[in-house]
């Protein structure tokens, strides 16, 4: 199956109440801070929701439980979605979201390990997460732990050569306890990935680097759950799941709009429009 075979714009089920509620948490954080990477967070919501609801073995009250699955948000600029999910799961109280980017907040514009319960590594500089995940996966295998490692990457991030160094390393070590998940929203800061630096054929790339790779509609909760429950896709090989997503998903003005990659003030009209779509106050 090629990437084009998935038509996410027409086939995606409508967002359910939970997806809308998580998006409201994202938007309200941006409102509180007056800034934030909105578009890159909105494409991620279902990926992180399914990971934390159905896939990851984690203990929100014991975030350093040694046998937990490790999840690294390598595209750290998508952190608003991670913060919403972590708060929703009880890693920290939801009212902390309103402090996003405040001077003394634990929640910065990129996630910091050691500051936020549940954040495995500080990210924000792109192209780092997969290598860290490879190291964690090797270490967990050495100690015969069943803990798995999931690394969520952005598509623009795949421009970084270090990602592919890490992919070769993961393959060399046959890390079937490692899964790379790509939030393939087709946009990066400047514009479409196809214009900035073409990634296609993306599935073939992962496969040629030794991964067992598959793709999915990244907003279809049931489909995501099915795919992620199936990892590793092949014994003795790392897995890659390319998730076709829409940048700014759920906020019509933001969808596929590079201008909403990093959003400063939301106007009253924009906010009213968002609330009309997502519900909430």
């Amino acid at each position: 199956m090629t990437s084009a075979a998935l038509d996410i714009n027409t086939a995606t089920p409508p967002l359910d109440a939970r997806s809308k509620a998580l998006r409201r948490m994202v938007v309200e954080s941006v409102v509180a801070a007056g800034r934030g990477h909105l578009g890159p967070a909105l494409s991620l919501v279902e990926i992180l929701r399914v990971l934390y609801d159905d896939i990851l073995r984690v203990r929100p009250r014991e975030p350093r439980w040694p046998e937990r699955d490790r999840c690294i948000l390598s595209k750290g600029h998508g952190c608003l979605a991670l913060y919403a999910v972590l708060a929703d799961k009880g890693f920290f109280p939801p009212d902390v979201l309103a402090t996003f980017c405040a001077h003394d907040s634990i929640l910065g514009g990129h996630p910091e390990h050691g500051m936020i319960p549940g954040v495995e590594a500080s990210t924000g500089a792109l192209g780092h997460g997969l290598s860290i995940g490879v190291g964690m996966a090797i270490a967990n295998r050495l100690r015969r732990s069943a803990a798995r490692v999931f690394v969520v990457l952005g598509d623009g991030e795949l421009d970084e050569g270090a990602v592919w160094e890490a992919a070769m390393g993961a393959s060399k070590h046959r890390l079937d306890n490692l899964t790379a998940i790509v939030d393939y929203n087709k946009f990066q800061s400047y514009g479409p990935t196809s214009v900035v630096l073409e990634l296609e054929p993306l599935l073939d790339k992962w496969r040629s680097f030794g991964f067992a790779a598959d793709e999915v509609d990244g907003h279809d909760v049931d489909a995501l759950r099915d795919k992620l429950r199936a990892v590793p896709f092949a014994a003795g090989r790392p897995s890659a799941l390319v998730c076709h997503t829409v940048k700014g998903k759920g906020v019509p003005d933001a969808e596929n709009n590079a201008d909403w990659h990093h959003k400063n003030k939301l106007s009253a009209a924009e906010l009213a429009s968002i609330r009309a779509v997502l519900g909430g106050a």
């Binding site: 390990h113 050691g114 495995e120 590594a121 500080s122 924000g124 500089a125 192209g127 780092h128 997969l130 290598s131 860290i132 995940g133 490879v134 190291g135 964690m136 996966a137 090797i138 270490a139 967990n140 050495l142 100690r143 050569g161 270090a162 160094e165 890490a166 070769m168 390393g169 060399k172």
Partner: protein, 318 residues
């Protein structure tokens, strides 16, 4: 010194399962005995320094103490962001073994000559920088690396470096070793330059200029207490390093003295010019070329003590 360092990685790995060795693409046979004896603690990951540093961070997150081995210029220039973010930001105990610190790779040219590695690493919060002077001191130092809670950059000499250290000197990270008590002048140096500086001090003593010598093997964190105490009683401080005069030991000494001493102290910094090397030959050849062998150092200090203002003008401005 290089062999001593790697053999110590093997010895430490035998003793402590947290220790892992990660090489990029070293010479054939490197640490073969360790590879055979401890294969689960031995990794060769290819010419991919950025990835190797991230991988070492991931292993350190899980409790390992990785020793990463590659060429000094590659481990400092190539993967700077990974060193900064993955290692220093997370304060992870990864040890970076920089082969060929300073002018060791003279015949291989400017891509391999590590003339600014200390400056690069010094800029990073939480990074420890150690430049042992010889193989026995390397052994004593490596014993201290196991439980040091920060990343460490280890600057390696060539191997077969003249032995000037003594067992009774011991080794503590962050504590300078006084090799000669200060006279009129204190010479602060690091790494394999100790040998050349001791030679210079001997020549200067014969010419009636008593010089103390202190080995600041740990360039960061600098032993500021020792430096301030030693510097307080001398006419001038001289720094000697196999490194550009920007950002290395000389800069660290200047910064420390500016912070610690109430009265200004004349400081002469001897090191490499702010230029890439375009000569080849040997490490010793380049050391002599830049006036950093014993006679060159002695001549510079003699002239400085006689006419400090004149010599200052002769050094190129930075």
């Amino acid at each position: 010194m290089r062999k001593a360092c790697l053999d110590m990685v093997h010895a430490l790995a035998r003793r402590d399962p947290r220790v892992v060795y990660i090489g990029s693409d070293p010479g054939p046979g490197t640490l073969d005995r360790m590879r055979k004896e401890l294969p689960r603690q031995f990794f060769i990951e290819g010419i991919s320094e950025a990835h190797v540093i991230g991988m070492s961070a991931g292993m350190a997150f899980e409790g390992h103490v990785p020793y990463v081995n590659t060429i000094a210029t590659f481990i400092t220039r190539r993967c700077f962001e990974q060193v900064a973010v993955d290692l220093c930001l997370h304060a992870l105990p990864v040890r970076l073994i920089g082969n060929g610190g300073g002018l060791v790779y003279a015949p291989l040219g400017p891509t391999h000559v590590a003339m600014e590695d200390i400056a690069i690493m010094r800029a990073l919060p939480g990074m420890t920088i150690v430049c042992p002077t010889d193989a026995p001191e390397m052994n004593r130092f490596m014993e201290r690396t196991l439980d040091w809670p920060h990343p460490i950059y280890i600057r390696l000499g060539k191997g077969g470096d003249p032995v000037t250290s003594r067992p009774e000197e011991g080794f503590e990270i962050g504590k300078a070793i006084v090799k000669r008590d200060p006279g009129r002048v204190l010479i602060a140096t690091t790494g394999i330059m100790v040998h050349h500086v001791l030679g210079a001090a001997k020549l200067l003593a014969e010419r009636g200029i008593a010089c103390g010598v202190a080995h600041f093997h740990t360039v960061k964190p600098l032993d500021a207490d020792a430096l301030a105490d030693l510097a307080a009683g001398v006419e001038a401080v001289v720094t000697v390093e196999e490194h550009t005069r920007i950002g290395g030991l000389g800069s660290a000494v200047l910064e420390c003295l500016a912070d610690r001493l109430r009265a200004p102290k004349p400081v002469l910094r001897l090191g490499l010019p702010d230029k890439f090397t375009h000569n080849y030959g040997s490490q010793d050849g380049l050391i002599k070329h830049y006036g950093l062998d014993a006679p060159g150092i002695a001549a510079a200090i003699e002239a400085y003590v006689a006419q400090p203002a004149a010599l200052q003008r002769s050094l190129e401005p930075i």
